[in-house]
C-alpha cells in the first residue's frame, strides 16, 4: 500500500474515533438508564449487566408520553407551516420589488431577531391574557408564527441568488403576482424551504420557555416541558430523570436520522450564506 493510502486510512479512522468521542455523552445517557444505581457509580461507561425496561415504563407513564408527544407535534407542525408561508410570502416583495420602503420593512422585521425572548416575556403574557389565549395551543401557535421574521430573512437572502428569468417569463405571459408566486416562485424556493423547515422544527420543538409560560394544564404540556418538570419532580431519582430525557430525545433522533441528509445538504448547498 502506498504511503498516501495508509495516511488516508489512518485519517479516516482518526475522524471516526473523533465522531465516537463527540457522541459519548449520548451513549452515556442511554446506557445508564438500564443500570442500577450501584452499577452506574461503579462503571459509568460499561454495558449494563442486565437490561430492564422498568425505568422506561415508569417514565413513559409519568410523563404522559403519548399526549405530550402529540401536543409537541401539533404545535410544531402548525407553527412551522405558518412560519414558512408567512416568511416566504413576506420575502417575495422585499427581495424582488424595487421600492425604497421594502428596505425599511426588512430592517423592521430584523429588529425582532435581536430581541431576546425574556424582554417581551411579560408583556406577551399580559397580551395573551387580554386576548383570552392563555393555556391555549392556538395562542402558543400564534406566538411561534411571529418567528417568521427570521425565515423571511433567510428567504430574501436566497432570492438574491435566484435568477429572475423564470419569474419574468411568467409575468410576460400574463401571470398575476399571486399566481406567479405560488405556481412559479414558491417551488423554486424548495432548497431553502427545506433548510428553514428543519431549523424551525428544531427550534419550536425544543422550545421550553414559551410553553412553560403560556400553558398551565398538564394536559397541554409539550415533551420538552416534561424534562423541566422532571427536574423538580425527580430531584431525588436521577434514573427516572435520565429515562425521561432519553424518551424525550427519541423523536428528535428519529427526525434527525430521516432528515439528516437534507440538513447537511441544505446547509452545504450554501443556502445559509446570508
Amino acid at each position: 500500500m502506498s504511503a498516501k493510502k495508509v495516511r488516508n486510512i489512518a485519517g479516516e479512522i482518526a475522524m471516526l474515533a473523533l465522531c465516537i468521542v463527540i457522541l459519548i455523552p449520548f451513549y452515556y445517557l442511554a446506557v445508564n438508564t438500564f443500570k442500577t444505581p450501584q452499577e452506574m457509580s461503579g462503571s459509568p461507561l460499561a454495558l449494563p449487566r442486565s437490561v430492564t425496561f422498568e425505568n422506561y415504563a415508569k417514565a413513559f407513564e409519568n410523563m404522559d408520553f403519548a399526549r405530550s408527544f402529540s401536543n409537541s407535534l401539533i404545535i410544531t407542525v402548525v407553527s412551522v407551516t405558518l412560519i414558512v408561508l408567512f416568511g416566504a410570502m413576506a420575502a417575495y416583495p422585499i427581495a424582488r420589488r424595487k421600492h425604497k420602503m421594502y428596505k425599511g420593512l426588512l430592517a423592521y422585521f430584523l429588529l425582532g431577531y435581536m430581541v431576546p425572548a425574556q424582554t417581551i416575556m411579560i408583556p406577551l403574557y399580559l397580551l395573551l391574557q387580554k386576548m383570552h389565549l392563555l393555556n391555549n395551543i392556538v395562542g402558543l401557535i400564534l406566538v411561534y408564527s411571529s418567528w417568521c421574521n427570521f425565515a423571511m430573512f433567510l428567504y430574501q437572502g436566497f432570492f438574491k441568488g435566484l435568477p429572475m428569468d423564470i419569474e419574468e417569463a411568467a409575468m410576460i405571459d400574463g401571470c398575476g403576482p399571486w399566481k406567479c408566486f405560488w405556481l412559479v416562485v414558491f417551488p423554486l424556493l424548495k432548497p431553502i424551504t427545506t433548510t428553514i423547515i428543519i431549523f424551525e422544527v428544531m427550534w419550536v420543538w425544543n422550545d421550553f420557555l414559551y410553553p412553560y409560560l403560556f400553558l398551565s394544564s398538564n394536559k397541554s404540556f409539550t415533551l420538552v416541558m416534561q424534562v423541566y418538570k422532571g427536574v423538580g419532580q425527580f430531584s431525588n431519582d436521577w434514573s427516572m430523570m435520565l429515562s425521561t430525557m432519553v424518551l424525550v430525545l427519541i423523536p428528535v433522533v428519529i427526525f434527525y436520522l430521516i432528515m439528516q441528509k437534507h440538513i447537511v445538504a441544505g446547509i452545504t448547498s450554501g443556502a445559509v450564506k446570508g
Binding site: I22, N32, L111, L124, S146, G176, W205, L209, V227
Partner: protein, 289 residues
C-alpha cells in the same frame, strides 16, 4: 402613484406583518414603556413614571453588572472557540472519505436536542460523584478531580465547553458549504508555486472562508448573548452568580423580585447592546465583501 402599484405585493407581507407586529413589536414597545415605570406586576393602578431611574439602577445593580460581564465573556469565548475548531474540522469533513456523510451527521447531531436536555445531561457527566464521567477519566489519568461546576471559574469554562461541543458540527457545515465553492485551481496554482499544506490552509482556505465566517460568527454571537437554557440547566447560574447570564437576571428581577421596571430596563439595555453588535458585524461583513 408608485405606492398603488405595490398594493398587491404589500398584501403578501400582511400576514407576517400582522403577527410580527402584534406579538413581537407591540410587547417590545410595552417593555420599553414599562422600563420607565415602577410597575410591581400586580395591577396597572399604582403605576408611576420614574424617568430614567430604572436605567440608572441597572448600572448600580451588582448582579446585573455581573451577569452582563458573564454574558459578554461567554459571547466572546464561544465564537472564538467554535471558529478555531470548526474551520479545520470543515476541511477534514470536506475530504472525500467513504464515511464523510456519517462523520458530518455525527458531528452535527449535538446541535439538535434541546439545550435544556443537554445541560442536564452534562450536569451528570460533570458531577463530582462516582458516576461523573469526566472526573472518572481525569482521576484515571492520575490527576486530581476537577470541580467542573462547583468552582466559579471552572463553571464558566464548563458552560463554554458544552456550548462549543454542541455547536461545533453545525458551524463546520456552514464552512463546509463555503469550501465547496472554492475553486480547485487556486490550490493547484499555489501547489505549483511550492506551497505546503499548512501554507495552503492559511493563505488560501482561511481567506476564502471569510463570508461564511461572518455568518457563523454573527449567528454564534447573537445566540450566545441571548442564551438561557444551557447555563440554566447546567449550573442554574451558580455557584454564586458565576454563570448567571443576563437572560436569567431579567427573569429573576422581574418574576421573583417583582422589580419589573428594572427588569425591563435591563432587557432594553441588553437589546440595544445586541443591536449595536449586529450593526457593527453587518458593516464589517459588508466591507470584507
Amino acid at each position: 402613484m408608485k405606492l398603488k402599484k405595490e398594493l398587491p405585493y404589500l398584501c403578501f407581507i400582511l400576514p407576517a406583518f400582522l403577527v410580527y407586529t402584534v406579538l413581537m413589536l407591540y410587547p417590545m414597545l410595552q417593555a420599553v414603556g414599562l422600563s420607565f415605570t415602577d410597575w410591581k406586576g400586580v395591577t396597572f393602578e399604582n403605576l408611576h413614571f420614574v424617568g430614567l431611574k430604572n436605567y440608572l439602577d441597572v448600572f448600580s445593580d451588582k448582579q446585573i453588572i455581573i451577569s452582563i460581564t458573564n454574558t459578554v465573556v461567554y459571547a466572546i469565548a464561544v465564537p472564538i472557540a467554535v471558529t478555531i475548531l470548526a474551520i479545520p474540522l470543515s476541511v477534514a469533513l470536506n475530504s472525500k472519505m467513504k464515511t464523510s456523510n456519517i462523520q458530518r451527521a455525527a458531528f452535527f447531531f449535538p446541535s439538535v436536542p434541546s439545550a435544556l436536555v443537554l445541560g442536564f445531561l452534562w450536569s451528570y457527566i460533570m458531577s463530582p460523584l462516582d458516576y461523573g464521567l469526566l472526573n472518572r477519566m481525569v482521576t484515571g489519568l492520575g490527576f486530581d478531580p476537577v470541580l467542573w461546576l462547583a468552582d466559579p471559574k471552572m463553571a464558566m469554562v464548563s458552560v463554554i465547553v458544552v456550548t462549543v461541543w454542541s455547536q461545533l458540527g453545525w458551524h463546520a457545515c456552514i464552512y463546509l458549504a463555503q469550501l465547496q465553492s472554492v475553486s480547485e485551481d487556486l490550490y493547484e496554482a499555489a501547489r505549483i508555486d511550492g506551497a505546503n499544506t499548512l501554507q495552503l490552509f492559511f493563505r488560501i482556505t482561511v481567506p476564502q472562508l471569510k463570508p461564511a465566517m461572518v455568518t457563523s460568527v454573527m449567528l454564534l454571537m447573537i445566540s450566545s448573548l441571548k442564551v438561557f437554557d444551557l447555563p440554566f440547566a447546567l449550573t442554574g447560574g451558580g455557584p454564586g452568580y458565576a454563570t448567571t447570564m443576563i437572560s436569567q437576571v431579567i427573569i429573576q428581577r422581574g418574576f421573583v423580585d417583582k422589580m419589573y421596571g428594572r427588569s425591563m430596563a435591563a432587557a432594553i439595555v441588553f437589546f440595544l447592546f445586541v443591536a449595536f453588535i449586529t450593526v457593527i458585524q453587518q458593516k464589517a461583513g459588508a466591507e470584507k465583501e
